[in-house]
Symmetry: C2
Subunit: 384 residues, 2 copies
């Protein structure tokens, strides 16, 4: 059915009508009081959302651009960095480190498994000469639905004392409790089309005082991604370059919505959506890709042994106008991924699972009790 | 009056209702056939607009990001480059070159004057060892309303044979005839909130085969701004990173509008808007900042001797909801700038000039015949 699309992918995520209408307002000039007033409120609310007094800077880039800025502003060629890599995005941060001539040590785990904190302990504790300048971690690995144990790895980084912790929080920020100040996270990067409930186009980077100290001696070249320019402008409620005005006006709207909902409620809701989705998948007798013990609050990956995952996605789209994400790289056609990030309600999960039941039945997967998926999700919802 | 703003600044420029409504459509997934179909048409139409068979790549960045990508993809540390600098943007490209460790030679002219082509001739002809790797030119210098003589400088670069010509066409593309293929321009960068008639958030870079040759040996580090990634993806009607889907859907709409209007008509319209604006300013007995001989089709800068330019802007905004741009840096409060770029009609110029007459009168500038500004603009419109 036309114009009936329901996005259950990890980004772009669903956008509330109020934000779409804000997006459609005619742009205003960005060198005006009116825009500065919006910037002031947006910046304050971003700090609230990030649970930090650190600078939270907004760039006109995708999530990848935000993470790249978060890396290159604080390091110099040849710097030794540890990069956690257990999925598509971890691999990307390795590539970025290499593109910039860093001395990258990838700490890998199989796709679908979490990073092994013991490996980080070993490397960080063994680094008595304090050569490791940064540890780069993907919090929620979007490609597999794995939530890495950032809290433990961060504690190890703190014990090391020298290294910065740089976090890709692209699909965890606004979905999972990530208390930047109380954990002492140095650099946290994220993107607008995720927990922020607006379309893609803005990246966010929070920067700690310790990271700003590192900035002073960091030698990697940068200009458009130079965060000090954004810091200077943000302090004056403006931007160094022409910003995507419409997106910022939409963000102004969604941040108010988030404040109304409250951080606690937002995190609880994502937890509930995750639990219901996972329960439902079990109810459908499909194997979850990755254990409940390290499951992302943003996305659930489902394995489809004996079935083509892309056929399921294709029929879900055709019959019910529900967009699911596929597997990436070697997981192509092996898994599908259900996004439950941002502007997603309990009802959306029920719709998605109910439609999935019909789809699976039509494709001949009958190894489940009809209604079993929905019933399992319903049970989570009635309990919480 | 609320919601009555009329943008006469050089960006963001006015956005047609159809594009605003397209912007407000719920985002779709970017890894879908539906999006790829849009990408295919957008890419084809971008080539049409750029008058080129070269790659035209779309990045989620501002105009500055696009120019930076246009520079850093084709050069290595220490490379000698000539950078034309006769305004705020020329100065910025000098800064970018320096930030990346290029051997930058700024070829300067006073703000408000065009670049001196003889200086380029001297340097390029004197470079018998072909050390100059690139010449970077701002075509329309937004800060002053000066249109540099790109055609002549490009011819000198062609005679040199080795250097690439890299063009900041941010406020000339879609306003002025810039035939990339017939002139042989290597790299041309621009931004969405200008001639493209959509809000800010997208940058564009066209790349010639000669520039791709230079890319192969270029050593400046890059990842998010690595144009080869965009080239590879664009060839498959997709994007390397999550794109600003809504802006691309809006661009899909405005490029169709531009095709309907036709290139010739678009350029003629901008020429007419420029001529009418300049005639009107003369009719108001205000000095134009910069001569008619090198006037930008996108923006007209007006000097205000004996008056505070910002008072004029402020009253125009308060009384008539017309946003004009101010002077930058040392020109602050010395000039104001009237944008006539993109979705601007003859009527808009008449409105602006009529309102300006009232404003000037209210501020005590009475050294003109009432109606003289509008009459002068009208004369241009009746003649053309």
């Amino acid at each position: 059915m036309d114009n009936k699309l329901m996005l259950m992918i990890p980004g772009p995520t669903p956008v509330p009508e109020a934000a779409l209408l804000a997006l459609a307002k005619h742009p205003i000039g960005h060198r005006t009081n009116e825009f500065s007033n919006i910037m002031a409120e947006v910046t304050a609310n971003l700090k609230w959302l990030h649970q930090t007094e650190n600078d939270v800077l907004m760039l006109n880039v995708s999530g990848t651009g935000a993470v790249e800025a978060g890396i290159i502003n604080f390091l110099s060629p040849g710097d030794r960095v540890l990069v956690g890599s257990n999925g598509k995005f971890g691999e990307r941060w390795v590539e970025i480190g290499e593109a910039y001539g860093l001395n990258v040590e990838a700490v890998t785990a199989e796709w679908g498994k979490p990073l092994d904190t013991a490996l980080f302990a070993e490397k960080l504790q063994g680094d008595t000469e304090k050569q490791i300048k940064a540890v780069i971690i993907t919090h929620s690995e979007t490609s597999t639905g794995v939530l890495n144990d950032l809290e433990t790895i961060n504690r190890l980084v703190k014990e090391h004392g020298e290294a910065l912790i740089i976090v890709d929080a692209v699909t965890s920020l606004g979905a999972f409790n990530l208390p930047i100040d109380s954990w002492g996270l140095d650099v946290v990067a994220s993107g607008s089309q995720k927990g922020y409930m607006i379309p893609p186009g803005l990246g966010f980077v929070s920067v700690s005082p310790k990271a700003w100290e590192a900035y002073k001696t960091a030698k990697l070249p940068k200009y458009y991604l130079d965060l000090s320019k954004y810091r200077k402008s943000t302090a004056k409620n403006t931007t160094p370059f022409t910003p995507p005005v419409n997106l910022i006006v939409a963000l102004h709207t969604t941040l108010r919505m988030m404040k109304n909902e409250g951080l606690e409620s937002i995190f609880t809701r994502h937890q509930r959506l995750k639990n219901a989705t996972r329960a439902a998948v079990k109810g459908l007798n499909l194997p979850l890709f990755g254990s409940d013990d390290y499951a992302s609050p943003a996305i659930t990956a489902v394995a489809t042994p004996g079935m083509e995952a892309d056929k399921i996605r294709s029929l879900m789209n055709k019959r019910f106008d529900i967009a699911l994400a596929g597997g990436q790289d070697h997981l192509k056609n092996q898994i599908f991924r259900i996004g439950h990030l941002g502007f997603v309600s309990d009802r959306d999960i029920l719709s998605c699972i109910a439609a999935l039941e019909v789809t699976l039945t039509e494709l001949g997967h009958e190894n489940f009790t009809p209604g079993g998926g929905v019933a399992a999700a319903a049970q989570v919802f009635t309990q919480s």
